[in-house]
């Protein structure tokens, strides 16, 4: 089996030849050590590189780098975010900062600060009041080169690797545009008309992006809105049903109609809302945050309907543990969730700057050591 076949089998709840692996590596240190050279594919390095060229050129180069990293660590997927799809000549706007920090505004109007380890930290959004949204313009989907990063990934590895186009249900973009999650929550109660309009327009835009990605050949659509925290759903049942579920249905129905897969990422404890998301048609739930969700329970409760992915703890084990701890964690995840198929190995969020390189190497090694299904000879 190649990577694409392996992922498809797992998402269809079949047994592949070995447990597939999907992850997002944001740690520049780990990327550098994998590539044995200085990597350039973080958002802020892209911004630094756009001076002599532009973000389009930088992102096109980043696709190659991310594929090289995926191949080097035996990852079966290549994930490309909608935010990496920029038109030819596009440059991130660099905002002035009295403290000399690098602050940028992306094409959607979200403002980020360069955080620890060169990773992006959310800072603000450009919709300061509901009226601002009346004049808001989404980036042009037909702009020249807008989806060239997707085309490039499909051209380079579309036959062998599982390519995932990552978008949002709409929730994340909405709170990022209005300046924070708490502000959007206030709008749910104080100005529900505006909140719905904002969410629905973003969702409609995301659906259009997903359609284009699928037309260009991605194998799955991925959503990355966090819908829960460690103490449960971020929403009351009423708010979730009224504001969030229509977004879920709209995107999921579009993806399912085209026979594609929907992989949903959300941190937090989703026990209260996962049944609804499964009923809506998601194919895979990632990352089963180990602090609040038990992989074995999830396998027993949901494993006959969806694939599960994740649970290798990047909040504790990959950060503070030893390589031995990491190997045992990977082994535990495989033992609990891989039997019978329907499991995709992954960290419990991403391989970020806090993760130890030695532990990541141990994770990759353990995948090869414990991850093979019973052989057919």
């Amino acid at each position: 089996m190649n990577s694409k076949e392996r992922m498809i089998a797992a998402l269809c709840l079949e047994e592949p030849d070995k447990v597939p692996y999907m992850d997002t590596i944001t740690s520049i240190v780990i990327k550098d050590r994998i590539l044995k050279k200085s990597s350039t594919s973080s958002l802020f390095q892209t911004v630094r590189r756009q001076a002599p060229s532009d973000a389009y050129t930088a992102h096109m180069k980043n696709v190659e780098e991310n594929i090289a990293i995926s191949k080097a660590v035996g990852m079966d997927t290549v994930i490309i975010n909608d935010s990496e799809c920029v038109s030819k000549g596009y440059k991130y706007k660099v905002l002035p900062d009295p403290q000399g920090r690098l602050i940028i505004q992306d094409q959607m109007g979200r403002i980020y600060l360069e955080g620890e380890g060169g990773e992006r930290w959310y800072k603000d959004g450009i919709i300061k009041k509901p009226e601002d949204f009346d004049n808001y313009e989404f980036p042009d989907l037909e702009a020249p080169g807008k989806f060239d990063v997707i085309k490039k990934a499909v051209d380079l590895v579309g036959d062998e690797m599982f390519i995932i186009g990552s978008v949002h249900w709409g929730f994340n973009y909405a709170w990022e545009l209005v300046g924070g999650m708490e502000k959007l929550f206030l709008y749910f109660y104080l100005n529900p008309g505006f909140a719905k309009n904002l969410l629905n327009k973003i969702n409609k835009y995301m659906v259009e992006i997903a359609k284009i990605m699928m037309d260009l050949g991605v194998d799955a659509i991925h959503t990355r809105d966090d819908l829960a925290g460690t103490d449960g759903s971020l929403f009351s049942p009423k708010i979730f049903d009224e504001f969030i579920m229509p977004l879920v249905h709209n995107l999921t129905n579009t993806v399912k109609k085209r026979g594609s897969f929907l992989v949903m990422h959300s941190d937090g404890d989703l026990y209260q809302i996962l049944e609804k998301l499964i009923d809506a048609g998601i194919d895979c739930f990632n990352p089963v945050e180990p602090a609040v969700m038990d992989l074995k329970t999830c396998k027993e409760r949901y494993g006959d309907r969806i694939a599960l992915s994740g649970n290798v703890d990047c909040a504790t084990t990959l950060v503070n543990g030893t390589p031995k701890d990491t190997r045992e964690e990977v082994k535990r995840c495989i033992e609990v969730a891989a039997a019978g198929g329907g499991y995709v190995l992954s960290s419990s969020n991403s391989i970020y700057h806090g993760c130890r390189f030695e532990n990541y190497v141990a994770m990759i090694g353990a995948k090869e050591e414990y991850g093979y299904y019973p052989l057919i000879l």
Binding site: I8, C12, E14, E15, G340, P374, I376
Partner: protein, 97 residues
Amino acid sequence: MKSLSVLRGIVVEVKKLGEDRLIQGKRWEKVIYTVKLVQFSKRESRMKMSEDLKGKEVKVLRFAHDDWHYKTGVSRTLTVEETEAVLKGTPTETVFW
């Protein structure tokens, strides 16, 4: 076009055959899984299993190594070729009854 749809079932018994093979430095043990057929994979939702196949027990030959390979009560997937053999009623080296 050849169907990719495969049959899935639940492992009800694992029988060790006492035959080992060394593969890439690891010792893999020949086993026969008794698999109670349940359904086709969700890959092809139009494929419905016929009533006479539901609950049919087939023996599936594999090589096992890790502890989790010996679990019962978990799903096991037949290959495309094994699925075709079951549907045709023609046993093969790796699937029989």
